[in-house]
């Protein structure tokens, strides 16, 4: 069976699901960040796959570049936040950071 668009998309979907799970269930902020990276990667796979199979030329690739750029920015900021969190709560467990609740 020829590898086609659907294969890549399914791969992306699986990756997305894993990333999502990480985002939802893990309590360590860094792991949540990793989950996000996974999701972004899943999206990138989709974009590039569409660029390949939908005749969109390089547009998909360009957008995936932007996604990567944003991922970098996000990672930098998020880690900054995590460090702050750690400084304030002495933990990176985001369950502890629930002061919004009450």
């Amino acid at each position: 069976m020829e590898i086609g668009l659907t294969h890549y998309l399914v791969l992306g979907a699986v990756l997305f699901g894993l990333g999502l799970f990480a985002m939802i269930s893990r309590r360590n902020a860094i792991l949540v960040l990793m989950g996000i990276e996974l999701i972004l990667n899943a999206a990138n796979i989709n974009l590039v796959a569409f660029a390949r199979y939908n005749g969109l030329g390089v547009d998909g690739q360009v957008i995936s570049i932007f996604v990567i750029i944003l991922a970098v920015a996000e990672a930098a900021i998020a880690l900054g936040i995590v460090l702050n969190l750690y400084n304030n709560f002495a933990t990176v467990d985001i369950d502890e950071a629930n002061t919004m609740k009450d």
Binding site: L5, L11, R26, G35, V48, R52, N54, G57, I77
Partner: protein, 165 residues
Amino acid sequence: MPYTTILFYVLAFIIVASAVLVVFNKNVIHSAFALFFTLFAVSGIYVLLRADFIAITQIMVYVGGILILLIFGVMLTTKITDVELKTKNLNVVPSVIFSLGIVIILIFVILSTKWNIRMAPESEETVSQIGKALLTTYLLPFEIASVVLLVALIGSAMFARKIKD
């Protein structure tokens, strides 16, 4: 079975397996290392998709940048010796259900959709094409992205700084 197919399945396996490790590993450092494999394999997928520039970028930015950043983060916040193992999260069951659910839905949708497949013209020159696109059609987002990066740079520096008062 053409070798690209084999390659794809290999890469897919690496991606999924390492991602599973990332997600379920209790040791954050291990997760970070597993993530390294994932990202690498994804760049392989990009190569399969003939997006050479993206593949390179993936390796350079993700593997060379973000991952290092993450590891630094891990190391700054965790004492490697006493690795926290408390994953007694109540969310596991709903998380699994939701994530599985959405994956199933996505796959179902992907499979049931009739995709309009048009192969992109084979071109060796993706780099120059991307360059042109970035400096013509996507000039504004490109510039904005650079500003965003700058802001992120300053912002993260601000956050990370310990406020002494």
